[in-house]
Amino acid sequence: MPKAEISNRIRRLRFDHSEMTQEELANKAGCTRQTIIAIEAGKYVPSLTLAFQIARVFGMNVEDVFQYEG
């Protein structure tokens, strides 16, 4: 089974939302800044719960923030 790739637009969205810092996003989404860094770098795929929380911070749907490239 080929490995599924999940990409995201978090970095872009942070800048579009008043240049929100990673720290601010982490605090609003309920995770650590290191996790936001890892997600942005594509080193960590968040759980559905965290993905929803991050999307909610930007006021968007999950699929507008994360893209599945299976």
Binding site: A26, C31, T32, Q34, T35, I37, A38, K43, Y44
Partner: protein, 145 residues
């Protein structure tokens, strides 16, 4: 550095420190003197129980900063510690099998093993457990950062 990474470095320090302490004690007093040397037995017991207590203290992790909403440990940290626990388990199992094979081969002719090895196995199991988990955590962060 996350609290879990700090704990891993602390664990690594405790593990290496305990190893050096054990080596120093047994080199200074001699392994074979365990049966007759009450002081050596006392030191061995203190290292066993003390090491376990120190390790217990390092297991405590604050999830949030007191009075603040900032998260210190999240799902990524929990995933890393779960994987590190598997590394820890395999490291301990491996060390036990190495002890079993080494002692069997070394004392095959005598059909019995000196009592000191019961403590050495216990202490080494603790040390391997501490170091194994610490290494597992550090590898986890390296892969997921």
């Amino acid at each position: 550095m996350t609290p879990l990474q700090k704990r891993a470095w602390l664990g690594l320090g405790v593990g290496v420190g305990m190893s050096l302490a054990i080596l120093a004690v047994f080199i200074a007093r001699g392994v074979t003197s365990f049966d007759d040397d009450l002081v050596l037995r006392g030191i061995t017991y203190v290292l066993c129980v003390g090491g376990l207590l120190v390790y217990g203290v390092t297991l405590r992790i604050k999830r949030r900063k007191p009075g603040r909403s900032e998260v210190l440990v999240d799902e990524r940290d929990e995933k890393i510690i779960k994987r590190a626990t598997m590394v820890q388990l395999w490291a301990v199992l491996l060390s036990l099998f190495i002890w079993a094979i080494a002692l069997t081969e070394a004392y095959w002719g005598e059909k019995s093993v000196p009592i000191i090895f019961a403590y050495l196995i216990a202490i080494s199991g603790l040390i391997v457990s501490i170091i194994g988990q610490a290494i597992g955590i550090l590898i986890g962060y390296r892969r997921m950062s």
